[in-house]
Subunit: 135 residues, 4 copies
């Protein structure tokens, strides 16, 4: 089933520099990761051992903000600027790597960190796949 | 298939004041609408008749920002404050109504406005359904 | 000294429905509050007693997101829609009230909460002043 | 007069890896640029010649989102991760360069583009100054 992201991409009236299905997959991975990180930050705040999870909360907040912004930039095609997309994807892959590592370290103890780490890994890969197409 | 949103909600370690499946559906509708509005704003910018679509671009940008923020607020359960959720959902339903009306007015001419109007209608309904549970 | 916000408002090429100086003051209060709440959430995470501050972190995050979105909406004048501005300002004043109350409760113990509470109070007042002009 | 940003930074209860005054200056430049770009995008939409300004609108939207996210990341010190700050500052400097160039090209015709270009130049410099301290 095509996501709403793909349905909108198919309606864009001009040319797009990237394959639309690959682009839609990357945007969906970014939005999924942003959502997972926002939820994981809040779930960490509700754990009794929150004092052991403050780095996780912080990295989740960074990763959520960066993924959300990257999804927006990739959703714009008018006046495309490859330099912005490339450097932002590199920052986003970096944030997903850090957040995935941090959450993976708590995955045995906290199910929300386990699920969030998976979303971060998938998003990091989607960013790197797209980077390979742009550069 | 449960969305990633629902998978994360199921891991939240404390009580949530709302039904988790209904909440996940609302968050998904909000994120879908934010994505559609961001894409529709950009598609409008690429239309030759952009001068006739400036109100549509503006309303899309507002709706995207408000939906994204509402999705984040609804994704946090620690220290829940019904007053914030209720007033924000009312603002979000208002923005979705305005954006849905504006896009519907261009739906015959622009496919992106037609798809975006559907996302706005679905999101407005999801906001109103959730409001009925909160108040 | 006029802020950068006022300098930009003075260059808007069409009519604006509100007094530009009052509008600039509200936007500046919103951006200041968003910044204070983002910083206060992080300062709370660094306190040894973070377990007592989780509601404060959560309310800070909500207030930061809502203030930032409200500042953006108020910065757009093309295709102005009073219903969106009004309902969003009401949600924003509600969030600033909640966050100001929460931070005020920690103001004697944490200087960041004292400074943040002041920013929330000022922002709530700016939202209510603007609401009085719109409705 | 110290900005609200500096007032909050002074209350952070642990060590910060960067000079607080330099960091506050960078955060203020980022927030000013985000505000200018949001306003410039909307002012462009209100120009009769909006069809000539669609690349400017798009670049303004990207720059606003990236500057706002970078200001948030730099406002968090708990669990500091230099790799995220560095790559994001590089993306932000790139976006400010692109947006500053685009706006400068319209500065003789549109006062909002002239003012916005100045904000982009100042923000790009602030990002590069901070990068020199981090790497």
């Amino acid at each position: 089933m095509p996501s709403g992201t793909m349905a909108m991409l198919e309606t864009y009236p001009k040319a797009i520099n990237l394959d639309r299905a690959e682009l839609a997959a990357a945007i969906d991975a970014l939005n999924d990761c942003a959502q997972a990180c926002t939820a994981c930050a809040d779930a960490c705040l509700s754990e009794d051992m929150v004092a052991d999870l403050t780095t996780c909360v912080r990295t989740n907040l960074d990763c959520a903000d960066i993924c959300a912004t990257t999804a927006r930039v990739l959703s714009r095609h008018t006046g495309y600027d490859a330099n912005i997309s490339r450097t932002l994807l590199e920052a986003c892959a970096t944030a997903c790597r850090s957040c995935g590592d941090e959450c993976a370290g708590h995955a045995d103890t906290h199910e929300h960190c386990r699920v969030c780490a998976e979303a971060c890994r998938a998003c990091e890969q989607a960013c790197r796949d797209l980077l390979a197409r742009i550069s």
